[in-house]
Symmetry: C2
Subunit: 242 residues, 2 copies
DNA sequence: CGGATTTTTGATAGCAATCAACAGCGGTGG
DNA sequence: CCACCGCTGTTGATTGCTATCAAAAATCCG
C-alpha cells in the first residue's frame, strides 16, 4: 500500500560541541526524551541519530517486521495500527511531536507506524539506542515514565472500545483532542472520518451519524468538515464518561 | 462492593543477610522483577517490602484513589479493571504470579486491582520503591522491559476489542490462555463467564453462545464448566486471528 | 436433598454494519 | 467560466450481530 520512507538528510553529529549543532535548533529539544540528558550525553546520542522525513501516508515501521529504528517525532503526526488476519484495521495509538516512537529492547515491531501528515523525525538505530539507554540510566528512566503513561492511556482506551456506545466513543475522542489542543471552543480535526473510525472501532457511517446526533442535540457544531465547535463542554464530557 | 485488603504478616527484613530470609523461600525469586538485583540490592529492597494476602474478591488498588502500594504477585491472580460513569466494567489486564503490579512514578491508580483468587503479594510503599528504582538503574531497566511488553499486549487487545466478532474474541482468549498454560490439549479456565465477558467486552450470554458455537463446530469441547479441550488448534487459531 | 448461584438456551429489541444513493468540495481541462 | 470527475462525507434502507429480558438447566455447597 505504502512505500518505504526515504531518508531526508545526511547523518548528523561529528565534533563534540557543547551542544550539538543538530540539536540546537531542534523543535522539541525541551520536551522530547533527550531533554533529560546533559550536554555530553546529548552529544553522544546525537552522533547516533539522523533526520528522516515522511510524506503523509508513508510507513516508518511495519507490523511484524524487524523494528530497526526508534526515534523522536519532531513535527507531524503518525498512527500506530494493527490489522486482523482479514485486513480490518485498528489504530492503537497516535504519536505527536516530542513523543517517542518505536520499540526498544524488542526484535519485531508489534504494530505499523504510518505518517498521517508530513512528518519529520530524529531516528536512531535500535541496537545502538538500546546500548545507549543501558549506559545512560537517565534515558531509561525517562523512557519508563513515558511508557507507563502510554500504558495507562492504552488501557483507558480499552474501556472505550470494550464498553462504550458509538456516541460515547465519538464524544470521548472530541474531548481528548480538545484537551490536548486546548485552543478555544473550536478544535481542528486532524483526522478523516475513516481515521476516526479506525481509532474508535467504528465505521465511517457510524462516526458521521454520531457527529450528526451530537450536532442536532446542540452539543457541538460543525462549522467546516475538519473543525468542531464545542457548545456545551459539560454535556459532551458527561456523554464521553458513559 | 469489596472491602480493603487486610495485611497478612508483619514487615520482613532486618539484618543484612547475604540473601534475605524473606526472599530465600520466595516462590517467584527467579522470575519476579527483583531477580535482576544482586544480594545487596535484594537485601535493601526486602527491607522495604512486606507480605500481603488477599482473599478472592478483595481489592488492592482502587481506580482514581492514591496508589500507595506497588509490588510483586507471589501466587494467585488479579484483574485490573476500569468502570464507565454508569458502572459498566472493562478488565484491562490480568496479573499473574511473578508479574509486577501497581503504578510507580504516578500519584493515582489508573484502575482497580482486585484478586480473582486468593492471592499473596510482596508489596512496597510506592514512594520508597520509586526512590529505590531511581537509585538502582537495573530495576528501572527491568521495569521498563516489562512495561513495554505490557503495552504491546494492551495494544494487541485493542484490536480484539475494536474489530473482532464475539466468536473471534472468545477464540482469542482461549488461545491466549492455552499458550500461557501450555499443559496439554485441555486447559483449566481460571475465569467465570462474567469475567470472560469483562475481559472481552461482551455479555455472559454472548460468551456462552460463542463457546457453544465453537463446541458445536467440533473445534473445542467442554468436558466441565471450567475446562476446555482444544480439538482443532489450527482452526481455533484461524478464528482468533480474524 | 434443597436452595443459591452460575450457565445455557430462547425470544426479542436495539444498535451498528452493510449496502446504496446522494451531496459537497476541489481540481482539471475544455 | 463552467462542466466534469474523483474523493470525502452524509443520509437512507436494510441486515445482522449482540444486548437485553426471561426462563430453564446445570452446578455447587451445605
Amino acid at each position: 500500500m505504502y512505500r518505504d520512507a526515504h531518508v531526508g538528510e545526511a547523518p548528523v553529529g561529528g565534533a563534540a560541541f557543547a551542544l550539538p549543532a543538530s540539536c540546537a535548533g531542534c523543535p522539541v529539544r525541551s520536551s522530547a526524551i533527550c531533554c533529560v540528558l546533559d550536554d555530553s550525553g546529548l552529544t553522544a546520542l546525537s552522533r547516533l541519530g539522523r533526520r528522516v522525513t515522511l510524506a503523509a501516508g508513508e510507513t516508518l515501521l511495519w507490523e511484524g517486521e524487524e523494528a530497526v529504528t526508534v526515534g523522536n517525532v519532531l513535527s507531524g503526526m503518525l498512527k500506530l495500527s494493527t490489522l486482523t488476519g482479514d485486513g480490518r484495521e485498528q489504530i492503537v495509538g497516535i504519536v505527536h511531536p516530542s513523543d517517542f516512537i518505536g520499540r526498544p529492547f524488542g526484535k519485531d515491531s508489534p504494530h505499523s507506524a504510518t505518517a498521517l501528515t508530513d512528518t519529520t523525525l530524529c531516528v536512531f538505530g535500535r541496537a545502538a539506542f538500546d546500548r545507549f539507554a543501558r549506559e545512560h540510566a537517565v534515558i531509561g528512566q525517562a523512557l519508563l515514565e513515558r511508557t507507563l503513561t502510554e500504558l495507562d492511556r492504552a488501557r483507558h482506551w480499552m474501556l472505550l472500545l470494550g464498553r462504550k456506545s458509538a456516541c460515547e466513543r465519538v464524544a470521548s475522542l472530541i474531548v481528548e483532542i480538545a484537551d490536548r489542543a486546548d485552543d478555544g471552543p473550536a478544535i481542528d480535526l486532524p483526522l478523516s472520518r475513516q481515521q476516526m473510525g479506525d481509532i474508535l472501532g467504528l465505521t465511517i457511517e457510524t462516526v458521521s451519524r454520531s457527529l450528526t446526533r451530537l450536532k442536532r442535540a446542540g452539543i457541538i457544531a460543525l462549522p467546516s468538515l475538519r473543525r468542531i465547535a464545542i457548545n456545551r463542554p459539560g454535556e459532551l464530557r458527561a456523554i464521553a464518561e458513559g
